[in-house]
Amino acid sequence: MLAFALRRAGSGLTLVLVISVLAHTLLALPDPDVGRQLLGPAAPQELVDEHNAALGLDRPLAVRYADWLAAAVRFDLGHSWFTNESVTQSLANRLPVTLSLMGGVTLVTAVVSFVLGVWAGVRRGAVDSAVQAVGVIGYALPSFLITLIMVIVFAVQLGWFPAVGYTPPGVSLTGWLSTITLPVLALSVPAVAGVSQQVRSSVIDVLGRDHVRTLRARGLPFPRVVFRHVLRGAATPALTVLAMQFVGMLGGAVIVEQIFGLPGIGAMTVQYTTRGDIPVIMGVVMVSVLVVVVVNLLVDVLVAWLNPKARLS
């Protein structure tokens, strides 16, 4: 198991390195005129050139990447070209916001999806049809629309939750819950729609297998068959879909964070990408890739634990 985990971690690190090269190259290729953007249209060209040189933009791309990498391995991601903020500090401020959002969505999605999926897979009939219908509707509704409706109804009209902002759990747990609930619910709707359908299909599939029929024929109580044996078999594909949802959430977080004014890395991504602030974008890319690698690693290990055959692949 340890060798399996180390193999996966090694591939993850290689992926981080490859993506850092690709991201740095792709970001630098359009050659954003940072000096002109910073100094404005009125600045003389010599001053703009000096500013670009001070940022190292007159050096070859490979040298710039090597410098960035040498600093990054020491956890120094540089400073924003546009706001002078330390990228590391800025990510440290913003990452907990996005992670708590994604963590909350994953928790809600896992619980609700397993309940709905198992219920639909076991009961079938009208319950199954209803869960499938809810899934299709949840999948079809754009998440920005769900988000806007939630803000208007629950924050602005009813005043149950704040419309904007974020409170860290370390400062106030109730404050955190109040600021995170609506964004989590908004992002959970499409995630639940997708994962619950996967759980339902897997449960139906496992229920039809020979070993489950044998267990039921031996007279084991049905709930015990479901919770001890069916769920274990159904969990593997469901976990994979849940992990994919988690990774995909980074994209959904961009919109939700902007609508709720959450100071997370999703909102930061849009803001800085349009300006070509390479140090910040590289920081965001690296953090995102690391999150994806870590989540995939955890899922791989979990799946391998649930299904030893997976370790051989």
Partner: protein
């Protein structure tokens, strides 16, 4: 304050810095009358005065005082300078300074500080460095008297000294440190522990301030990416005050009971014709062609459909509060495609001509692009839009000088000379250096006349520019200064962002 922001542990920083907007956690908060929370879409590049800009003024006014204070009506009042006077040539401005002001580390504010700050400003290369172009130097006449020497009169110097160029930092801190650790004599100091740069800035009132303290113990400025989030924050009382620019969000604000809003016509939107001499598009060298472009645009429909009627039609670039402004010039060019075609024919272009303009989607959305293209096509001008990405748009337009015109939103400051310097003199927005004898003569007259005699030539210059169709303004945009009802906001003449001094508790 003379310390760099400490590198606090990540969790602590996140813990304290991000709670600002939360509805129920800790200060500053919406229901705390001692705290003012301003929402904005503007993020300052840094808190170094060299990087200051008018739209981010409140960030800087919290921690720095300016030499001259600009009142809400645009008049000038003493601040760090108590008196000022020009010599007869208008190239020497003598400033008499307050004698009871010191920086936090005890360094006195004096003429040496003024010299250090003003002489650094144009050298530091910030976005407003050009406003002190022509500064020859600052003479220290005595401890509290400084004389600003100019190579030629700068009629907007007091305006600039009440703006970015006038913010005074501790001479001992001038350099990179100011970017995140501002060191001025202002009424507040930055709380680095509760500030998350790029998102939220928290300023605490200083224990000792030389002037009248501002009414709030604490000021928090929170930056947003989307205006609907900003407006939702005001609707729920998490934000006390904000400027709302988008027409649909203004409509939300107006329909919301409990919110107070004050309208202000401020920026104008329109085409700046750079190529009036026909270097890129020869047809534009003819005044009749430029006038035809003005007649071709259906401004009333644009105002109605593109910005929901939130603005005033105009054909002039000078703002309503300037001496140059003339109300009748707002309707010089009626929408008249027939007249436009006649003018084109008279100029020898009965079949029109081709035009390519840059399009930055955040300024020219699809509806505006289509509207302008359609109007121009109706008179035979075939317009093609080049979509530019924001990272390279300025280079393409101003460095490469690749386009003959551009749609822009421009501020309309109350000071005539700011508009003359920005739009009329050869330079940034007149980078091809268009001029003529009348412009040259009137500019010289405005520049050198005593203040009370400059109004008439300014009006004459305005009339001349409109007649020569140097510009194609569409309308002045109306913005709403909106508050949650707990704050009174007094708009700042000629600026979209009210000064920090203009916020007071309601009632």
């Amino acid at each position: 304050m003379h310390t760099r922001a400490p590198a606090t542990p990540a969790t602590a920083a996140a813990g304290v810095a991000l709670l600002v907007l939360a509805g129920c956690a800790g200060p500053p908060g919406d229901d705390d009358p001692a705290t003012l929370t301003i929402g904005t879409m503007t993020v300052p590049q840094s808190l170094d005065p060299a990087d200051a800009m008018g739209s981010a003024a409140p960030y800087f006014q919290a921690v720095y005082d300016s030499l001259v204070r600009r009142e809400p009506d645009g008049t000038y009042a003493p601040m760090l300078a108590t008196e000022w006077s020009y010599d007869d040539t208008l190239t020497e401005l003598e400033l008499t300074l307050r004698e009871d002001v010191a920086f936090d580390d005890g360094t006195p504010f004096d003429a040496e500080a003024v010299k250090a700050n003003l002489e650094r400003f144009p050298e530091a290369g910030g976005g407003q460095a050009h406003t002190l172009e022509g500064l020859e130097g600052v003479e220290v006449a005595d401890e509290f008297r400084a004389v600003v020497h100019l190579s030629q009169p700068n009629r907007a110097l007091l305006y600039y000294l009440s703006d970015a160029a006038g913010f005074m930092a501790n001479p001992g801190s001038l350099g990179d440190g100011l970017a995140t650790a501002p060191d001025g004599t202002g009424p507040y100091e930055l709380d680095p522990g509760r500030t998350a740069i790029g998102t939220t800035w928290v300023f605490e009132r200083k224990d000792e301030y030389w002037g009248e303290p501002l009414p709030y113990e604490e000021v928090a400025i929170s930056a947003f990416d989307r205006e609907n989030a900003l407006v939702n924050g005001v609707r729920t009382g998490q934000i006390n005050a904000a400027v709302v620019q988008e027409a649909d969000q203004q409509s939300v604000v107006r329909s919301e009971p409990g919110l107070e809003s004050v309208p202000q016509d401020i920026d104008y939107q329109g085409l700046i014709l750079f190529d009036r001499d026909g270097h890129l598009v020869p047809e534009l060298a003819d005044r009749r062609v430029r006038q035809a472009v003005n007649h071709a645009l259906d401004r009333p429909t644009m105002l109605d459909k593109l910005v929901d009627g939130q603005g005033e039609l105009t054909d002039q670039v000078f703002g309503t509060e300037t001496a140059a402004y003339e109300p009748e010039l707002d309707s010089r060019y009626e929408h008249d495609p027939e007249r436009a075609r006649e003018l084109l024919a008279e100029a020898g272009h009965p079949d029109g001509f081709d035009l390519t303009l840059p399009r930055m989607p955040e300024i020219v959305g699809e509806p505006m692009a289509t509207s302008i293209s359609t109007d121009l096509a109706e008179v035979g001008i075939d317009l093609e839009w080049d979509e530019l990405d924001p990272a390279n748009a300025l280079r393409a337009v101003f460095t490469d000088q690749a386009y003959p015109a551009m749609v822009m939103n421009n501020a309309q400051p109350a000071e005539d000379w700011v508009t003359v310097a920005e739009l009329v003199l050869p330079g940034t927005f007149n980078f091809l250096g268009t001029t003529d004898d009348t412009v040259g003569e009137l500019v010289r007259e405005i520049q050198n006349a005593p203040a009370d005699e400059a109004a008439e030539p300014a009006r004459e210059l305005n009339r001349h520019l409109v007649e020569e169709a140097w510009f194609v303004p569409f309308y002045r945009l109306t913005y709403q200064h909106v508050s949650d009802g707990n704050v009174e906001i007094e708009p700042q003449s000629g600026a979209a962002a009210p000064s920090l001094y203009n916020y007071t508790p309601a009632g």
